[in-house]
């Protein structure tokens, strides 16, 4: 397939991470965090997702570029279950 899944996935998690981080930073110290034992779950988890999403996206871009440089290997065309090695 010609779309590296890590690109949209990385984007989604980066955006979610960004939203959570910003919202967490804006609501730091707010009583809404009483439910999460006083931990600013939005800020910290937002940062985690930001890092995760960002690295996914970078890896995906790299993969996509490699895929465009060298055309995709054809799928297994051997008949039968045996794969003849090289």
């Amino acid at each position: 397939m010609n779309l590296d899944l890590r690109i949209p996935m990385g984007l989604l998690f980066t955006l979610v991470g960004l939203i959570l981080t910003l919202y967490g930073a804006g609501t730091n110290g707010s009583p809404i965090y009483a439910s999460s034992l006083g931990i600013n779950a939005n800020l910290y988890w937002g940062l985690v997702l930001l890092v995760f999403g960002g690295s996914m996206y970078i890896l995906g871009r790299r993969g996509q570029r490699r895929m465009e440089r060298e055309p995709q290997k054809p799928a297994d065309t051997d008949s039968g279950a045996a794969r003849r090695g090289h």
């Binding site: 397939m1 939005n42 090695g85």
Partner: protein, 612 residues
């Protein structure tokens, strides 16, 4: 207990997810040129994507909610569904069975049965499978709509828009149907697989912080153990007490567990269900296809911590007596404190008591104790610990798991319908374009039928239990057919066909003649005559499976011995002894599927010792 109301951040996160899901569908549309692209993802996906999709296809909400519920009810013994019920079967299918599925070039599991056996065995399997997938996706839809109602996800939106709250059920069903329909219609199996992988990461993103905060609130792993031990110390062990039904919470014994769950039910599902096998068959070569279930087994080992633990944590927490609703109105923070309703007061931890829908009062069991609504364990954990913001992420993870559970069923249905029913019996030799179009419309038809199932589930109380019962009758004997077909070249088509039917009949008979303790004859069994009583319904299930499997195995062997087997030349690539071993010599040793399998076995043993 603090009750959090959803705010705009939660909505933005949910909306963002929907936009991406549909976006992936639209982005993939231009690659869908042939029916192979649509139904088999062009057989061009990398192993890690298919591997994560392999477990996500099964990680529907029934699993996420159900495993949490089971964790709250039975404790760590639930981990058997992973350690015994899933991982050994996943290793087996990857190492031993995938060479035949992938190598035979069959496009679906029923098609494999036609190549190995004959037309009638394929038709039997294709029909029963097509019906089951449609019903399963309908059940998933129904469960999602009920959960959305229970969690009041859309209540605020409906109040703002001035719509009647009674429409939330229909709204949830229509919304999920449209989204799943669109992304499969556009991007076929690739779209479904991509979204399953997305859902896999969303579940981790949503549930990992939940488990961490939950553990912190009860004082870590030791704190949870102390709290659970005060309820029932048996709940802290996976294996201890398994020798006798009376000494473990599920009321099962080692033979029922190992044979029934491990050998028959687990293998029957992970090794023969096209719902999961389709993702492995979409990978780009044989090596990748064999690695798919093995790659899937790795995160599968971590999932007990993500989905069972919330259930255990939910009962470890002290039952709340008041709720505080924090809401923000025009910048001001408003606290509203209320005394909890009786069903929460009489519950255990965060698990509420079941409420009688007619009287509105908590329901009691025969000994006067309240019946608990374990299905609410995991959702209530989300509401209890997550502030607005991350709550949106948690709910998105739940919604995603429901939708991708549906999607897997729908793509399995459209493939089996198009290749195994339409192309084989209705319209042969049409152009590839024609079958691609049929596949798209089969998607629409499948989803419409699912909606009907979801509505039937509201009107008939028992329909969910009945359907699941029928599925278990049909599925239980399947593994014997595949095992004999792949590993005994003498097996004949007549043997397989008659064996399958006898297996299902044996399951029906066993269910009709046995009854779990404290159940009334009827849907739970004993509707013919009660010959045997089992300590629990789980034990009864396991033994139904064992009977079905054994009947199928014996009858298939007997009938095969009486008939004439297929010539050996026709069985190359389909039967173990006649197929050259898949050559993995080109890969360094640690990249071979076998090396991965050994690693998995070691990890599995470690995990079981940890939960012992």
């Amino acid at each position: 207990m603090i009750h959090t109301e959803l705010t705009y951040v939660d909505w933005i996160i949910m909306l963002l997810y929907f936009v991406f899901v549909l976006g992936i569908g639209f982005a993939l549309k231009r690659f869908m040129k042939t029916s192979k692209d649509f139904f088999q993802a062009g057989r061009a996906l990398p192993a890690w994507i298919c591997g994560l999709a392999f477990i996500s296809a099964n990680l529907g909400a029934q699993e996420v909610i159900g495993m949490g519920a089971s964790g709250a009810k039975y404790g760590l013994e639930t981990a058997h569904f992973y350690g015994i019920g899933a991982i050994p079967a996943m290793i087996f299918v990857g190492i031993f069975m995938m060479p035949f599925y992938y190598g035979s070039k069959a496009r679906s599991v029923p098609e494999f049965l036609r190549l190995r056996f004959d037309e009638k065995t394929r038709a039997l399997n294709a029909c029963s499978f097509a019906v089951m997938t449609v019903f399963s996706s309908g059940i998933s839809m129904y469960a999602m709509a009920r959960l959305i109602q229970a969690l009041h996800v859309f209540d605020h939106l409906f109040l703002v828009m001035g719509w009647p709250l009674g429409w939330i059920f229909t709204f949830s069903i229509v919304l999920s149907a449209i989204i799943v329909l669109l992304y499969i219609f556009l991007g076929g199996l690739t779209s479904a697989i991509y979204n399953e992988v997305l859902q896999f990461f969303l579940i981790i993103a949503g549930f990992l912080p939940l488990v961490l905060i939950g553990l912190k609130s009860v004082g870590g792993w030791q704190g949870m153990k102390t709290a659970v031990a005060s309820i029932d110390p048996r709940m802290l062990h996976e294996w201890k007490g398994i020798m006798h039904p009376a000494t473990n919470p599920m009321g099962i014994d080692i033979i029922g567990l190992a044979m029934g769950l491990g050998f028959v039910l687990g293998s029957g599902y992970w090794c023969t269900d096209f719902l999961v096998i389709q993702t492995a068959m979409a990978s780009h070569n044989m090596d990748a296809a064999r690695k798919v279930p093995l790659i899937a087994a790795l995160p599968k080992m971590i999932f007990p911590f993500l989905v069972i633990l919330p259930g255990l944590l939910a009962i470890s927490i002290a039952t709340p007596h008041t709720t505080t609703t924090v809401s923000m109105q025009g910048g001001a923070i408003i606290h509203e404190t209320n005394i909890v309703p009786p069903e929460v007061e009489q519950g255990r931890g965060l698990v509420p008591a079941k409420v009688n829908p007619v009287t509105g009062k908590p329901m009691l069991d025969a000994s006067g104790k309240p019946l608990l609504d374990y299905d609410m364990a995991t959702p209530n954990m989300l509401l209890h610990f997550f502030p607005t913001g991350i709550l949106g992420l948690g709910l998105t993870a739940l919604l995603a798991s429901f939708m991708s559970g549906m999607a897997g069923n729908v793509t399995a249905f459209n493939t089996v319908f198009t290749y195994d029913l339409y192309q084989s019996y209705i319209h042969k030799n049409a152009s590839d374009k024609h079958y691609l179009a049929v596949g798209r419309w089969a998607t629409v038809g499948g989803i419409l039928l699912s909606i009907c199932t979801a509505y039937a589930a509201i009107n008939f109380n028992n329909i969910m239990d009945t359907l699941q019962l029928v599925f278990s009758f049909v599925n239980a004997p399947l593994f014997a057919t595949f095992l004999l077909g792949m590993f005994w070249k003498r097996t004949t088509g007549d043997g397989a066909f008659i064996g399958l039917i006898s297996g299902t009949l044996a399951a029906v008979l066993h269910h009709g003649l046995s009854l779990p303790l404290e159940a009334h004859p009827g849907i739970h069994g004993g509707w013919i005559h009660v010959l045997h009583t089992y300590p629990s319904d789980m034990a009864q299930n396991f033994y139904t499976a064992i009977w079905a499997f054994s009947a199928n195995l014996i009858i298939t062997i007997l009938v095969s011995l009486m008939g004439k087997p297929k010539p050996e030349a026709e069985l190359v690539g389909l039967v173990h002894s006649l197929t050259p071993k898949p050559d993995t010599g080109h890969a360094t040793w640690w990249r071979r599927p076998e090396a991965l399998a050994v690693l998995l076995v070691v990890l599995l043993v470690v995990l079981n010792i940890f939960f012992f």
